[in-house]
Amino acid sequence: MKNAIEVKNLVKKYDKFKLGEINLEIPSGYIIGLIGENGAGKTTFMKSILNIIKKDQGSVKIFGEEAKEDDSKRNEIGVVLDNSFFPELLTAKDINSVMKSIYSKWDETLFQKYIKDFDLPYDKTIKTLSKGMRKKLEIATALSHHPKLLILDEPTSGLDPVVRNEVLEIFLGFIKDEEHTVLLSTHITSDLEHIADKIVFIDEGKIVLDKDRDELLEEYGILKCSIEEFSKIEQDDIIRYKKNKYGYEILIHNKNKLMKKYSSFVIDKITLEELMVLMIKGEK
């Protein structure tokens, strides 16, 4: 299997924050979901892949080659960044005209189709658009030059559930081509439960989990018990735990095995959100 992105020993240091070392392989044909708290390093990671910030150490390969500063491979990448980035005085029409001269494979018809599908005005300045509409315009732009790789930082933030589903459907359609790959970060973890093939969890600048989604949701679970029962659970079986009013919520691994071992306890399926919260806020 070919890798769309290969990251080796990537380190980026700031005064009060350090990203890395990050090692990550992103195979072609996958949707990779990047999750983590605000400030965990998701954006820093994506920016260093895109060379918006300079890495201090390590290597980033895109489509098998070291990602260079000014690379015509950029024609194969579609990008959405976390903040609005189009000049506010421009219109969708202007964006079309600008991108036509920038991307060699810019598809005007496709862009206009997205504008129509997304109910976006073609002649109004971006200034007048809502946050969600701006995001939609950015997504439309990222898709309209037939990229092979999408790097999307919080592409669904600010979108209402209907549009969010629409956008996720588009990503799923995009990935049908085996050469296509999506790397997206989000704090709306439920999005990823529908579409991501792989989940990468970043915390305090490091990857703490890198797993297939199905495997992850299958293997991890939440064991619920009362305060008295907590002592019966072996320390080795507890990854994290959280105490609440009624008892304990314990994050466990090897769900099926532990279901037999602790057959008198309730072991629930886990959502990505619960996993994230327990990993970050839970005690060890």
Binding site: I52, E69, D70, D71, F85, P87, D94
Partner: protein, 207 residues
């Protein structure tokens, strides 16, 4: 690069109305008063262009522009190219206006128009060459401050020179003979050096 030039021109388009009004005011002043048109409108187009830097910064455009094909190099290239385009266009407009004005007021002096035009182009190239690397390095806000300091300093230095140094007739004739060429060549060298410097600065910049 063409795409990025278009982007800046679209941005400027939004400000054309205001520029038109300023231009009309100055034409009025030139007709009824006694001011030379050459410098100001060209300067205005430069200020207009500076505003594209503020929009870029405000909308965090740069981090996105870097991800485009040949991103970093094109950003710098496009800024200089658009400035030159703007400079040429506004110079042509202003020169035509000056000639028309000369005809209307019946004080047509082609020599004066040419020297005023070349003077303003050289002045603006000087301004751009110093300001742009500062903007690329330290951001738009500091670039603006630098611009005002340069204008203030250079005009006071010139005023001081004119007052205190006795310019002999030889010097004036020498300037008249070679000065224009020297200025043009100097400003081309300066502009090119400034472009290279900006490119180097921008290569290392993070957003």
């Amino acid at each position: 690069m063409l795409g990025l030039i278009k982007k800046d021109l679209f941005l400027i388009k939004g400000n054309l109305k205001a520029t038109g009004i300023i231009l009309i005011v100055f034409i009025g002043l030139a007709i009824f008063g006694n001011i030379n048109l050459a410098f100001l409108p060209v300067f205005i187009s430069f200020v207009l262009f500076m505003s594209t830097f503020s929009y870029d910064e405000y909308n965090k455009w740069d981090s996105y522009a870097i991800t485009l094909p040949n991103g970093r190099n094109n950003v710098v290239k496009a800024k200089y190219a658009t400035t030159l385009i703007l400079l040429v266009v506004s110079t042509v407009i202003v020169t035509i206006l000056s000639i028309l004005l000369g005809v209307v007021k019946n004080e047509f002096d082609i020599k004066e128009i040419i020297s005023a035009t070349i003077g303003s182009i050289v002045a603006i190239i000087l301004l751009i060459s110093i300001t742009y690397p500062i903007i690329f390095k330290f951001g738009n806000e500091k670039g603006r401050i630098a611009m005002f300091i340069i204008i203030f300093l250079s005009s006071s230095i010139f005023a001081f020179l004119f007052k205190s140094v006795k310019i002999s007739k030889d010097m004036i004739s020498l300037l008249e003979q070679y000065g224009v060429f020297a200025f043009i060549i100097l400003s081309i060298i300066l502009l090119f050096g400034s472009y290279q410097l900006s490119k180097n600065i921008y290569q290392k910049k993070e957003f």
